[in-house]
């Protein structure tokens, strides 16, 4: 076990217990852990997106390593711009071009996403913030177009196909598998659930009775969601406790125990001081 791993374990223990300390009440440990989490997450996501997409796939396509000497007036200007970037940020724009397997000719089509990306960044400048709308409009339009077909295919057609159940060649009743009874439940649940969301007719009389069945199906579904949510949270708690237990061992110099003790003592001091302040 090297030093950095042990240090990492101590940090992990501190952050875990810092977050858990909120269960007592809002306190400085929780605040530290919360701020570190938000900051690190944002920085990490940005760094990953830049080094896995922007640098290799955008800049790598705009300025690939050319084959032989750069020929032509325009190409010289193009790679001249690259050299200026390279002078400022040599780690992003290495000498000679970016070799990420995108061939040897620049893909000038990618100037468009590059420009749209820059436009989105301009939202921080008041006078030019309107340009960001172009980038956002493109993203929203593209996403809408991309999703429309997929939703229609998988969520509408696929689900209708899945609800078109059979009553042939199957047992009358089965607890978990396919059966006539289970398929009847699917049909009744689907129809009554959909009718519950039909608001053009008052939910009264026979129609009201049917939609009431729909509510029961919805309630069962919400109950299942709640049960799964509890299960998920307990799993995460088990995960943290498992780590805390292993970090409490001699290998990590009893990190969990020491950090817990220190935190409890400091929280007691902090609470007493806070109480005195309130009293005065």
């Amino acid at each position: 076990m090297n030093g950095s791993e042990i240090f990492g374990a101590w940090v992990a223990v501190f952050l875990t217990l810092g977050i858990f300390s909120y269960l007592y009440k809002d306190n400085p440990f929780y605040k530290i852990a919360e701020h570190v989490f938000v900051g690190v997450s944002a920085g990490y996501w940005m760094s990953m997106a830049f080094w896995t997409q922007v640098q290799p796939n955008l800049f790598g396509r705009l300025w690939p390593v050319p084959e032989g000497e750069i020929a032509g007036f325009f190409m010289r200007i193009w790679y001249g711009i690259y050299n200026i970037f390279g002078f400022v940020l040599p780690s992003v724009f290495p000498t000679g071009g970016i070799d990420k397997g995108h061939g040897t000719d620049p893909h000038f089509m990618y100037i468009l996403p590059f420009a749209l990306g820059i436009m989105m960044l301009l939202s921080v400048i008041n006078k030019l913030s309107w340009l960001a709308r172009l980038g956002i409009a493109y993203t929203v339009g593209m996403a809408a177009g991309l999703r429309a077909y997929a939703f229609l295919n998988s969520n509408v057609l696929g689900q209708i196909k899945g609800s078109a159940v059979s009553f042939v060649d199957m047992p009358l009743f089965s607890l978990t598998g396919v059966s006539i009874f289970n398929n009847l439940v699917i049909i009744v649940g689907t129809v009554t659930g959909l009718l519950y969301f039909y608001f053009s007719k008052e939910h009264a009389g026979n129609f009201g009775k049917v939609t009431r069945v729909g509510i029961y199906f919805l309630m069962i579904s919400f109950g299942a969601s709640f049960g799964f949510a509890v299960m998920g949270r307990i799993s995460l708690l088990i995960g943290r406790f498992t780590d805390l237990i292993s970090y409490g061992g001699a290998t990590y110099h009893y990190a969990s125990i020491w950090v817990l003790l220190l935190m409890v003592v400091l929280l007691i001091v902090w609470t007493i001081k806070g109480d005195k302040k309130t009293a005065s």
């Binding site: 397997g101 995108h102 997929a150 696929g158 689900q159 899945g162 978990t176 799964f228 307990i234 799993s235």
Partner: protein, 281 residues
């Protein structure tokens, strides 16, 4: 009787911090003193197992990691168990990540299974293609042209230089797809943009919270089986006969559930007694 009812009402308004303490205790104690409760695989876990069992040595499986440290206790055990099963059968594993931290989860699983346990060769038995931002656009890209999205793997090797990438140009070239997902982008997007249009056999492992969202796709046959949260992982571990983190957490999970159900029943009784009394006076 009245005193007993008084006690229940008073207990119903107990400081929530005592409840947290009780939950913490019932989760910790079984981790130190395992009970060994039996684990019975559900049909959906069995379906995932059967889908992998159908694969032959040399088949190609695309495994996508869409989760991070915040959901690691739920998904990592099932990802590890699935990789063990695939490697046991000598299936080639291609790993992609739609979440940036998924790459580190994948690296940890690779280290644990491919390197330490099975001693597999990188580039021949498994490859980590890494993370690409773009969510469903990435999946759509992989479906049409794999090499437009990935020109290099996570280690910076060109795809053309990786032996197991030969003949892999799109998602349709794979025999099996597994999405280890904790949310967006994840299982739903893989179904919509890859499994349904291409027709590839797809299974998934999700967080417990996602099960209700993903289950309709399983019921309709768009996904072949689902591993739901830590219990799903434990079930898969029992199916492949290799107990892991999922199995060791199940005692704590079961005991905690019993206690929570107890709290819910108790809280409701207290609520109804209080309501009856307020109506009376």
């Amino acid at each position: 009787m009245e005193k007993f009812l008084d006690f229940i009402v008073r207990a119903g308004s107990l400081d929530r911090r005592y409840i947290f303490l009780v939950i913490a205790l019932v989760v910790i104690l079984p981790l130190f003193f395992p009970i060994g409760l039996p684990i019975r695989p559900t049909n959906s876990s069995q379906d995932v197992y059967n889908a992998v069992e159908k694969l032959k040595a040399g088949d190609k499986a695309l495994v996508s990691f869409e989760y991070g440290p915040s959901t690691k206790p739920e998904i990592q055990p099932m990802a590890v168990a699935l990789m063990r099963h695939l490697m046991e059968k000598d299936v080639k594993i291609y790993i992609t990540c739609l979440w940036p931290d998924g790459q580190f989860m994948a690296m940890e699983a690779i280290q644990q299974v491919a390197v330490r346990q099975y001693n597999k060769v990188y580039g021949e038995d498994y490859v980590l293609l890494g993370y690409r931002p773009g969510a469903e656009a990435v999946i759509k890209g992989l479906v049409s042209n794999f090499r437009k999205v990935f020109t290099v793997d996570a280690r910076g090797n060109f795809l053309d230089d990786i032996p197991m990438m030969e003949g892999v140009n799109q998602v349709a070239d794979f025999d099996y797809l597994f999405s280890a997902s904790a949310g967006y982008p994840g299982t739903v997007e893989w179904v919509q943009y890859a499994a349904d249009p291409v027709g590839i056999t797809m299974s998934t492992g999700t967080t417990s919270i996602q099960v209700n969202e993903v289950m309709p796709y399983v019921q309709s046959g768009q996904i072949v089986g689902i591993l739901g949260g830590m219990p799903g992982a434990a079930e898969y571990e029992s199916l492949i006969g290799q107990p892991g983190i999922g199995t060791s957490g199940m005692d704590a999970q079961s005991v905690a559930h019993l206690v929570i159900v107890g709290f819910i029943i108790f809280g409701n009784i207290s609520f109804f007694i209080e309501r009856r009394r307020s109506k009376k006076y």
